[in-house]
Symmetry: C2
Subunit: 450 residues, 2 copies
């Protein structure tokens, strides 16, 4: 890990210090993905079988997971893992229900009722990668909010192993979160199938989930096409930034840095501390703990592009963190809440010594599908709202139109939109006419009665 | 307007009936916009002056609006328009405050506190078009939620008129909604300036607002670049779908259709009704009212690609509407609330005879920046949430980690992420050690005391 001192760096060096590993949208990748998408759109399921043979190296009999496979997966599942899945799902459900948007209705003027109603995105596609290992936790993070939102059709794609099966835990999660169809598909071809539909795979309105460079490129391409599908957010490699003071436990800090570094060679980890001694101790611990990890080689590659940065204060650490806008931010300091208000941008924040980042990956209840690569400046992580649309509704009584119609007419006139103005004034005139007719009627009646 | 009967159409004809006017991302447009963006990135302000001269046909002395211009604009503003702006702003504020996300904190297990906190997107760019007429209402729809969200730096771009000035009402709205800087910039060059920054224009994290094909293409391009900026949503031409039963007033229905048609030649309007007589009456009214409009020629072009469609019931009308997913949906029926639950996809909905779509454009309180072109299937209109990020926060006590740590460790093991597992188990071991030390200490103390 590179050691730097923030206060001796000039602006250019600071920029370099916080630069992410470049994610070039290389032309070759872009074109390959365009080709895969075009082929799936043209030849449908047939293309999917071919791509699975070519890229996932498995010859599939059918791309959709069958009832028998679901049953076999459940039967094969370790009971402790099954229990952990249910436990995590329950906590994810608590937090996601608590943060789900609620309907709203207000009167903005007498007789003017304005509402926000919620509707689930009808057809959603969840992508669960299985590159180096299965990720049942990602299936939970997508399946639970889709279920709470009430999406009508939930499709999940995850690449099959070489034996032609999907991971048992992923299938089990799909089942308990009410996913309607699971397909053994990975990579750009899975994204293409869900965005455009094939004979087997339903066309989806919005796609969710992380993935490798091919998946990410495919998501970008289908989201730029109005005939394609929306996406949750752009994605990049996972990353963590830790702020530690001298009270932090270097063993814990090192473990947190490594839990991010083991994700992949392009993961990035950054430690900020006002304590040189802490930077030294953590560097030593990282080296020691890394040697014991099965994914040590991957972690070492990630660590090569990672940084230990000395800052002059915790306030400066917060400034640097905001500038970086990390996916995960760990505050291993004596008073983490004192720093929280100053944090502008991060995907998810972990406070104090007893909150390792990996509890957020699995079971604290928050979502682990988060903005990376600086996107935390403008994007939020996945939540129930990601699976819903918020529709506004307005209903005016005659009184309401009388109250606000003149304002609309003046603004429409200022914008030289005469038809907009008339849609209001025609109605106001009709109302006046109705009042007039009523008063004539009233007079006639009262004359007859007298 | 084309007359169609939904129930005699086959699937292909139904698709054609609901097809939007094609919005081709023509290669020529794409390349021109790429060129403009590259030039702005390379030559900054200098390029902006040149593009303004070339595209807006105005020679600017400065691109930033000065204090003197703001003051002159306010002084020149018609008091009735000023009052209407304040009235509209107040109603927009009521609704947007009522629908703003709130912080949430829950315990998902004993000692596991999980929160959602809100942070404004720090630097936002608002685009207010001025193609055929000024649009102060769009400035309101973007400025009010940005103000409520508390964005640190709000930049607004709107093209200058040939006299080198911006519209007075737009400047006045910018002032009262707390916009920090206004630039006389339009088109792709305005988007490029806000996405990447120049010496004068601050770099923004997220861009908002409607625009023509150039603006839309530029927004797409900068949003696909991690160095660029996020955007509110993809955009297309404005559109309305009206569902009318025989109780509807054809004069009102025609006025609503025309208020959409006058937006531009590529606007689309659709009327669905189970009553042939209503379709006839509205067709006649549209013709009659259109002739009286100053923008009649534009409306006629839009009407040429619009549709009057006979359906067999209001239920079928809802089905067809959901399939189309209109930006604006007007329910001119006797019992509009009876249809509301069935609506899956729409940007904003208008209920009943006294709710013209144009009140939503200006002053009912809802936002008029809405998903068009079928994007209402997966996107929502602009709201305070569009200007914020929702960050999750978790804080575990030692008790909390004991409660949920084992679950995280089991899931990490299933995913073969050993460093994730150890970040938890190292801490649990440290806790056990602390308990052991404490009990040794307790024993020693009690032995000494006895």
């Amino acid at each position: 890990m590179k050691r730097l001192d923030w206060n001796v760096l000039d602006e250019q060096a600071r920029r370099t210090a916080l630069a992410r590993p470049a994610q070039l949208r290389a032309d070759a990748l872009r074109q390959s993905v365009e080709q895969i998408i075009a082929t799936v759109r043209e030849r449908g399921d047939e293309a999917l079988f071919e791509f699975s043979a070519k890229y996932d190296r498995c010859v599939l009999e059918a791309i959709e997971v069958t009832e028998a496979e679901f049953a076999a997966a459940e039967a094969a599942l370790d009971p402790a893992l099954k229990a952990a899945i249910h436990e995590a799902a329950a906590r994810i459900e608590i937090f996601h229900r608590a943060t789900a948007p609620q309907p709203v209705a207000v009167e903005t003027a007498g007789g003017v009722r304005v509402e926000r109603v919620l509707r689930a995105v009808a057809r959603v596609g969840l992508y669960v990668p299985a590159g180096s290992a299965p990720l049942p936790s990602t299936a939970l993070m997508l399946g639970v909010p889709a279920l709470i939102a009430g999406c009508r059709e939930v499709v999940l794609c995850s690449p099959a192993r070489a034996d032609g099966r999907c991971d048992e835990a992923v299938l089990y999660v799909a089942r308990i979160t009410g996913v309607h169809k699971v397909f053994k598909l990975g990579g750009a071809q899975a994204i293409a199938a869900m965005a455009y539909g094939t004979a087997s795979v339903p066309k989806c309105d919005k796609l969710f989930g992380p993935g490798n460079a091919w998946v990410t490129e495919a998501k970008l391409q289908v989201s730029a096409d109005p005939e394609g599908a929306a996406i949750d957010m752009p994605a990049g490699p996972s990353e963590v930034l830790v702020i530690a003071d001298e009270a932090a436990n270097p063993v814990f800090v090192a473990a947190d840095l490594l839990s991010q570094a083991e994700h992949g060679p392009d993961s990035q980890v950054i430690l900020l501390s006002p304590s040189y001694a802490m930077l030294d101790r953590v560097a030593g611990e990282v080296e020691r703990q890394c040697a014991e990890l099965p994914r040590c080689a991957i972690a070492l590659q990630a660590l090569a592009q990672s940084r230990l940065i000395a800052v002059d204060s915790l306030e400066q650490a917060v400034e640097v963190s905001n500038r970086y806008a990390p996916e995960h931010l760990i505050l291993q300091v004596a008073e983490p809440r004192a720093l929280l208000d100053g944090i502008d941008s991060a995907g998810s924040i972990f406070l104090g010594a007893w909150t390792p980042e990996s509890v957020g990956d699995y079971c604290s209840g928050s979502n682990h599908v988060l903005p990376t690569y600086g996107y935390a400046r403008s994007y939020s992580g996945v939540s129930v709202a990601s699976f819903q649309k918020q529709i506004t509704v307005q209903e005016l009584s005659a009184e309401g139109l009388r109250a606000i119609g003149p304002c609309a007419a003046i603004l429409a006139a200022a914008e030289q939109l005469e038809a907009h103005r008339r849609a209001v004034t025609l109605r106001l005139e009709a109302l006046d006419q109705m009042v007039l007719n009523q008063s004539v009627l009233d007079r006639t009646v009262s004359e007859r009665l007298t």
